[in-house]
Symmetry: C2
């Protein structure tokens, strides 16, 4: 697949076929993509927790905050929840700062997910202290980002932005629309 | 190309064939990849400056800090400097925070560069105030990251890490070595 197609297909998906099981080895392969990606000063301070069992997924789900712009939607219903998670941690014993390493890693992982027929959502709105307690996560690790993964059951469309309104929305057919700024608005001239 | 191959090929290159000209349209295409990538709360606060002329490249080069671990090397010599730059800006009129948007965007762009036969380096060590003056950059924009691009003339190899030493180094043949941690060290169990 050409990269543009892969990137265009890597939308944020929030509804999944929860009965689908993600192999543990698939999650490991995604971490390998992150491992081979750039890291500031090559410090490689990111660590990963990976989960693919229904029990573990049930432990993580309550710590996630979903889709702020969809006011009438509290997140995916039972049956449509993610069937796997990658939690990206910053290991403070390696570095106190993580720069954008987790953004770089997350993009590699999400592109890899798309390539292997999965989809998901990068989530930064996390009830961090709840999750730390639930997992008994040592202080050494900072919770940076959660990647929720699964077999998407929703359709996501990129629209041209209108009236500078960046809020995504869902239409009557439950199709999720994401307004994106055009290239000529992003490249500025001084 | 499979994604893993593309990611493995997306190394940080710091020496280029400076006589090579990067088309302006190639840089625009790379911005389109960033445009289609995820953005926190879909705010899309990133803006881009793109440069491909020798004159512009000469204006930007002095603001870059190169390869901190190579103590005897002050950066690429004339003839081996980048032939294009993408400067990623945060537009503070859209958002005061940029999260890891620029990490996500930078990874999409660098993967696209590899796909099109280019290579380069994400640079966060920037003499920001010097560059702001040189470009007369309005206060509204924060300088987040510079992507130096060109036709690489160096060979970069990923090594297994030894003695926890993450410093990249150059051998007698000028081959650049990058030690990476193994996957089993990155995935932790609680």
């Amino acid at each position: 697949m050409k990269l543009k197609e892969l990137i265009a297909g890597t939308r944020s998906y929030r509804r999944f076929d929860e009965s689908y099981t993600i192999d543990y080895s698939s999650l490991e392969n995604l971490i390998d993509l992150a491992r081979l990606s750039a890291s500031g000063a090559n410090r490689q301070p990111l660590k990963y927790l990976i989960y693919n069992s229904p029990e573990d997924c049930r432990r993580i789900f309550p710590s996630l905050v979903w889709a702020a712009y969809l006011k009438d939607w509290g997140g995916p219903a039972e049956g449509e929840r993610p069937s796997g998670y990658i939690i990206i941690l910053g290991d403070k014993s390696i570095s106190e700062v993580f720069g954008v390493d987790h953004g770089i890693a997350a993009q590699s992982i999400m592109l890899g997910a798309t390539e292997s027929g999965l989809g998901g959502c990068m989530i930064a709105s996390i009830k961090r202290e709840d999750l730390r307690k639930e997992l008994s996560l040592p202080d050494r690790y900072e919770i940076l980002l959660i990647l929720a993964l699964g077999k998407p059951v929703e359709h996501v469309i990129i629209d041209d932005i209108k009236d500078n309104d960046i809020k995504y929305w869902r239409d009557g057919e439950k199709i999720h629309h994401v307004p994106k700024r055009p290239v000529n608005e992003l490249i500025i001239k001084l």
